[in-house]
Symmetry: C2
Subunit: 339 residues, 2 copies
């Protein structure tokens, strides 16, 4: 409860909006991470309206009882004109919202029907969420630990195809009481050349890249490892060894970084030093309730690293294969540590 | 290939837009169903631009090779100014899009950066997707068959809590090579009074409601059954029996229905006839690549039933429990059949 209210305090500190509006996802999707972050609950089809001094959750009759049981804020049922109820709860001032977590359909309806003065508060919201509390780091670490354990015990050559191995990973996640942080990527042979390869029916060769993470108590993890069978795949093995080395060098140099840009530059430098090609994706990303969140580790990013949880993923892609090594770190009490 | 092009024909027949724009989801979410429906592929971070006469897929370097291998349309790589590339591909006229499948962030960026004349084509797109082809009905039927088999074999009392039973259902789906159509709802005892109950750590009582569906080859299924232990839960059992009866009566009367409204009215009449309370959700919904899609079965819906696949779910919610019975039907060659 205190932590939830503290999040609200941080949201309004120096904010340019007097109200913040969050919507939860529908039953069919996992959206609404900020809604859960600021409300402490995960009720479908609801709105959370926050002010500096407090907040209220508005929902339909179908979800009312559940909302009352789980939300940190008072819960109000929508009447016959939900748009008017929303307008009344939001008041007159600017209403900050996260455009990345609302569909264009809802955005257009809110503007037209509730006549809200919506303003993009995505950056501010992301920044608040990007700075993790101790209890959040614990949850992220727990998800990371479970993922590492599953990957440690993985025997890729027991499976015939990428799909079989992918299904096994998903089942393992569920067996240990977790959900998936994202659809696992299993890429054997030349499929590994595509960073976002869709796991398919390719037969397992003597080299496979596995990108996998579980979600535990609402928090994500994200790891990538490459596996080799026998003594084959010498080039892949050598490139993977370099990625692991580069990862270690980046982690050791993290204390010198203050922004996402600093890590992007650092990663680029280390890859170059080891003769690796320029990376076609970023060197890593913030992670938390969503698998990709603040801070962005791009060459133009001035997003802050204070209190960040990161997945770092040095990688190299060639015509016939790709390799990637991904692990997680967190910035706790001014120090980086691997999780 | 022919089917994909036929979908484009139907989209532009009588359309008020000269271009249609679809975006695929990110790696972390399952969005972009219409993108897959009209492109025949599922590549991350891409745009599909359709005209009456053809189309093009635009994507970033990272996904280019994969897109070329899987998309039915020519693939172009974004240059240094993706917004300009998009603008060029879309041309001058009105650009129809599906607001429910695009984030507000992307919508705002497209308007500001690419200066597209975006127009809500959500209804038209939903209508095209709502009319299923023979091969789509086959896929939906396959997903339905697998779900029924899992539910037929379910022994709910082997599990201690809702969460345990939910995890088992998810694992079963993966074991048979499917994904989940949605997060299963497992609600025991009084939790069943909430239609969208979040499966939790409640211990299994002598009555449990299970709402579950797998996704197979991109198509969803959706079934709800109630299970009873021993001779207890007499009221729940009686109410569930009525829901099953009402379901049967609705199915028999479907030939008289032409729109979503007709089914909503029919459902309301049948529930009333059996002394059931007014339903707090709709009597069912269209189903396909998404678990909830066209047609909407609401009292104001004039959406058509021609070629529809539906999940029908008569239900009753009381203070201390709720019951629901859900099965699927498809309208094939002018006739309704259960799937």
């Amino acid at each position: 409860m205190k932590e939830i209210f503290d999040r609200r305090q941080r949201l309004f500190s120096g904010a340019r909006f007097s109200t913040a509006l969050f919507c939860s996802g529908g039953s069919a999707n996992g959206g609404g991470a900020s809604f859960s972050y600021f409300s402490g609950c995960a009720v479908d089809g609801s709105y959370l309206v926050l002010k500096k001094s407090g907040g209220v959750l508005l929902t339909h009759g179908m979800n009312y009882a559940e909302a009352k049981e789980t939300c940190c804020y008072p819960v109000r049922k929508f009447g016959k004109e939900p748009a008017k109820d929303l307008k009344r709860a939001c008041g007159r001032g600017t209403v900050g919202f996260a455009p990345g977590e609302m569909s264009a359909a809802r955005y257009l309806a809110l503007r037209r029907m509730a006549k809200l003065a919506l303003a993009n508060a995505g950056e501010k919201i992301a920044e608040v969420r990007g700075r993790k509390s101790g209890s959040e780091v614990q949850k992220i670490s727990a998800a990371a630990r479970i993922t590492r354990k599953i990957l440690d015990g993985l025997q890729p050559w027991k499976f015939r195809t990428e799909t079989d191995l992918g299904a096994h990973l998903k089942i393992r996640a569920l067996e240990v009481g977790c959900d998936l942080a994202f659809e696992p990527i299993v890429a054997t042979g030349k499929n590994s050349a595509h960073p976002h390869h869709k796991t398919g029916n390719a037969k397992m060769g003597n080299f496979v890249l596995v990108d996998f993470g579980v979600k535990k108590d609402g928090y994500c993890s994200d790891f990538t490892r490459c596996y080799f069978r026998g003594n084959g795949a010498a080039r892949e093995r050598a490139a993977y060894g370099k990625c692991r080395k580069i990862y270690g060098e980046i982690v050791r140099a993290l204390p010198s970084c203050k922004t996402g840009r600093d890590i992007a530059l650092l990663g680029g430098k280390m890859l170059k030093k080891h003769g690796m090609p320029v990376l076609i994706h970023s060197i890593g990303h913030g992670i938390g309730m969503e698998v990709h969140e603040y801070p962005h580790l791009g060459f133009k990013s001035d997003e802050k690293l204070e209190g960040a949880a990161l997945a770092l993923e040095p990688a190299a892609y060639f015509a016939r294969f790709g390799v990637r090594y991904e692990r997680m770190v967190a910035h706790v009490n001014g120090k980086w540590r691997e999780i």
